[in-house]
């Protein structure tokens, strides 16, 4: 199976070339994809933790007697 291709548009000449990625470029691409997947998972985990903390804080504020409108006004 051939490697994916890359397109290079030379703005000085207007010439477009399409060439196959080298094995090294394919390996780098796969490594980058794996790294991004890890970063994405970490971002999503952080966002989920933040949402959980917010829900917990809202619940505690409600127990103190604040209305939903008053809690919303805090953000």
């Amino acid at each position: 199976m051939p490697n994916p291709t890359k397109v290079i548009v030379d703005c000085s000449t207007g010439v477009t070339t399409e060439v196959e990625l080298t094995d090294a470029e394919v390996a780098q691409r796969e490594a980058d994809a794996a790294a991004y997947a890890v970063e994405q998972a970490a971002r999503e985990a952080a966002e989920a933790a933040k949402a959980t903390a917010k829900a917990s804080a809202n619940a505690k504020l409600a127990k103190l007697g604040l209305t939903a409108e008053e809690i919303a006004a805090l953000y």
Binding site: P4, T5, K6, V7, I8, V9, D10, C11, S12, T13, G14, T16, E18, L21, R29, E30, D32, A33, Y36, A37, E39, Q40, R43, A46, E47, A51
Partner: protein
């Protein structure tokens, strides 16, 4: 206020392509604007990534993203250049994305902004605003776009690079 707006180069992909690069960008404009419309061949590909001068280091940025439902998200991330469309979305739909790069020849760090939207006949469809920074003083002479998964851009994805002068 920009008073010129010149198409430097345009490319509509004829076949599936992993990356696209605009090289030898003329250094005669004040700002650059990259307008893209993409779709990818992977179920997991969402984010398009950018590189300047083949450099992928020293990129930072802040994004604000909405998904069509739920609470919008925000956070820090580098090299973002749009949200592409995965294979799970409505067939033959493409994104609308604009990247603006002011003062791309300056000896200062390079900021850029992005707005990007997906098309999908469903509730889930992302829209994103992004402010990015490349902490490098080199003038930008090439721009490369790729996906953050091992996916590729599909045929009929389009890429337009404009040069803008302020005088």
């Amino acid at each position: 206020m920009a008073n010129t707006y010149t198409l430097i180069e345009a490319k509509s992909l004829g076949s599936t392509t992993a990356t696209i690069t605009f090289s030898a960008i003329p250094q005669t404009y004040t700002d650059l604007k990259l307008v893209t419309s993409t779709r990818c061949n992977d179920a997991g590909s969402l984010s398009v990534r950018i590189a300047f001068n083949s450099n992928t280091s020293n990129f930072t940025g802040i994004y604000l993203q909405g998904a069509g439902s739920g609470t919008p998200s925000s956070g820090s991330d580098g090299r973002r250049a749009g949200v592409s469309i995965p294979t799970t979305y409505t067939s033959n739909t493409f994104t609308n994305d604009e990247i603006y790069i002011p003062n791309y020849t300056s000896a200062n760090f390079k900021s850029y902004s992005l707005d990007s939207t997906q098309e999908n006949n469903a509730t889930l469809s992302y829209a994103e605003l992004y402010a990015g920074l490349w902490s490098d003083t080199a003038a930008i002479s090439s721009i490369t776009l790729t996906l953050d998964s091992a996916g590729s851009f599909v045929a009929n994805s389009t890429f337009y690079l404009y040069g803008i002068k302020n005088s």
